[in-house]
Symmetry: C2
Subunit: 211 residues, 2 copies
């Protein structure tokens, strides 16, 4: 199981600094949508430049104009880019095509998708399926990703799963049971910890021990 560090609501320099503190414990680096909308592709370029050996996920949250946005992300150094699962299927098709051409990966952000939409997306076997409880749902409704939704669908289709949304060391065991994600996406549990290096190291240990 890989740990994807989500960088949001930060200046680029601070995002680099915090990643530097935890880089031994994390696998993938997510340039959050808030960085992309605030600073543009400079955010992706600078993170890739600072951590060339890491997998960079550009959280583009594409929902239209897929060719332009995905080519832009990959050319800026992203190894994975996200598209919304609620997009028209033609948009998903373009993302898959561009990623294949660049030999990169697509992550579906399943935020607010219906079960029918998720079933349709199962046809795209090369994508990573990100089960996502949004920041707004967390902060306003107190929801957390417990991984209950769509778990069976993912398992029976043997797709690669990522999980995001308020994940902590404490919620890891339940999440593993219900979703068995190959990527856990963790933001504030690391970036807002009083000691990010220690928080990331502990999370890494829990992942390695299979807790």
């Amino acid at each position: 199981m890989k740990i994807q560090l989500a960088l949001d609501r930060l200046e680029i320099a601070d995002a680099i600094q915090i990643t530097r503190m935890v880089e031994d414990s994390i696998d993938w680096i997510e340039v959050g949508t808030s960085l992309i909308k605030e600073f543009g592709m400079a955010s992706v370029r600078e993170l890739k430049q600072a951590f060339p050996a890491k997998t960079i996920v550009a959280d583009m949250k594409t929902i239209d104009n897929a060719r332009y946005e995905f080519e832009m992300a990959f050319r800026s150094g992203a190894d994975v880019a996200t598209v919304m699962g609620v997009s028209p299927l033609v948009t998903i098709d373009i993302c898959m095509e561009v990623a294949a051409r660049f030999n990169k990966k697509v992550m579906f952000d399943l935020l607010n998708t219906s079960e029918d939409q998720v079933r349709e997306l199962m046809n795209y076997r090369d994508a990573i399926f990100c089960a996502h409880v949004s920041k707004d749902e967390q902060e306003e409704s107190g929801e957390r990703n417990k991984g209950t939704k769509n778990g069976a669908l993912f398992t029976e289709n043997e797709v690669q799963v990522a999980a995001a949304g308020g994940i902590t060391i404490e919620s890891l065991a339940a999440l593993r049971k219900s979703l068995n994600p190959s990527v856990v996406i963790v933001g504030s549990a690391i970036t807002k910890a009083s000691n990010p290096t220690q928080a990331a190291a502990r999370l890494k240990q829990a992942v390695l021990k299979g807790e």
Copy 2:
């Protein structure tokens, strides 16, 4: 009926230059999602600085992290910001709250919304409802906004309507009949015209004449 010029797939300097050529004929300036993701909030700031008297629409396409994104857009000079109609309702609520606090406007991008979702959104009377055929749907499937979907729903609820997606002088009359939008959003029919000044002036004339 107002004309909103959509600026996409352009450098900021070129976007300003083309807007300068047509500013007498257009009412609102949309900083497209592609500019925001490529250049960040600098795109919104520079367009507002260049055209302080115009209404600036930041096509944020927010779907999460609404407070952060909307405050960022309004502080950068946007007068209107967009949120996806397919977002969780908690996200929509936050957008409305932030816009009210800043005395600004919210535009709902109805791309790929179900009829049920549109009905729920009708409760937000202060928003502008943008009926949107996406770039990907246009370019890959040849779709155009003919305004047939949701037209009756908008009329009976008396909400403010915008229309986007492949709109030209030729399609204006049909669109007026079916959707009666108060804002028509036009991008490439102006920005990619051989003579943008003339194309915008003709569109303005057609709008004034009620064609």
